[in-house]
Amino acid sequence: MSKQSVELEILRYDPERDEAPHFQSYTVPYREDWVVLDAVNYVKEELDRTLSYRWSCHMAVCGSCGMVVDGEPVLACHAFLRDYPDRIRIEPLHNFPVERDLVVVIDDFIDKLGSVKPYLVPKEEKDVEEGEYLQKPPELATFMQYTACINCLLCYSACPQYALDESFVGPAALALAHRYNLDSRDVGRGAREDVVASNPGVWQCSFVGACSEVCPKSVDPAAAIQQAKIAASGDYFLNLLTPWKRK
């Protein structure tokens, strides 16, 4: 007999009533083509309107619906019910303070993202009327994969380094810094160095690789960080050997 329903155990936390989060169970219908987000939406629409969570696009593009499902950080819109057992445990992303239910506070990430200047720093500013900053396809290919980041924060949720020391700049921010450092139109590497090549930057990464394993967009932040380490080492020794060029 085919499955009729599944049980969701959802972590609930109401800052006005609860001292600590607790799990609450809901029975929802099972549909072969439902993702976890559909089941959570069912809870919200049919069973319990007080449930809070973030979502928007339902197509793994907006990066809003990151949750920990059965211990694994996933996009709820990208995780099919059929791949899980009859009882599914849903938690907010790990390593972030829980604002309410499945909503986490991401201020720390937003600050870190800004600190790595994740935008093009061109050699010379141009007016819009002057056109684009041109680039050849092979130059684009060097960093293309890192442009796919949707800031869903699954990588931070999986990263034990970030879990143990919140000063770590973290996978997504460092991957984006590397993305712009690799861009042939960008000259901002020196301006990003203070953050990227610092101890809380790439050097705090011990290459667990969990970030890349959970990334839903195959960005591979672990690769970006290791390459940034090699670049930072090169810069260090070059700086040591050419003291007259120091800023």
Partner: protein, 129 residues
């Protein structure tokens, strides 16, 4: 409505038990202890060799017990695991571009294994000779 974000504690000592990938990571890191210890054993063997044949033979005889054998097997298993994990991550740290195209990660990994096998074969050939 008041904000009171709840911070869930992470165990400083037990975090690595919360997911198999963390256990695999820690095994990779711990492998250096066994490899380092085996390197010390080899250095001691070389030192005893420098003292003459009798000293070296005595050292070798003293390492022919079950504990030494078990340690050698354990060190080899950890060394192989370390080698495997090291080769697996090389495409991440050293992406190669050939003729304008990125070399697939699997090719880089297989290249490392090929180098490993060739180096091992040369070593065994020299030892046998």
């Amino acid at each position: 409505m008041s904000r009171r974000p709840y911070r869930r504690e992470v165990s400083k000592t037990g975090w690595w038990l919360t997911h198999p990938r963390y256990i695999r990571y820690l095994l990779r890191e711990v492998s250096c202890i066994f490899i380092g210890a085996y390197a010390v054993a080899v250095i001691v063997a070389l030192w005893r060799l420098s003292q003459g044949r009798a000293a070296f033979d005595a050292y070798m005889a003293s390492s022919h017990d079950t504990a030494s054998f078990a340690f050698a097997v354990l060190a080899m298993l950890f060394a192989l695991y370390h080698t495997y994990t090291w080769f697996q991550v090389t495409p991440k740290a050293m992406p190669l571009v050939f003729a304008g195209k990125r070399v697939p990660g699997a090719v880089i990994v297989l290249g490392h294994w090929a180098g490993f096998i060739v180096a091992s074969a040369i070593f065994w050939f020299l030892m046998a000779g």
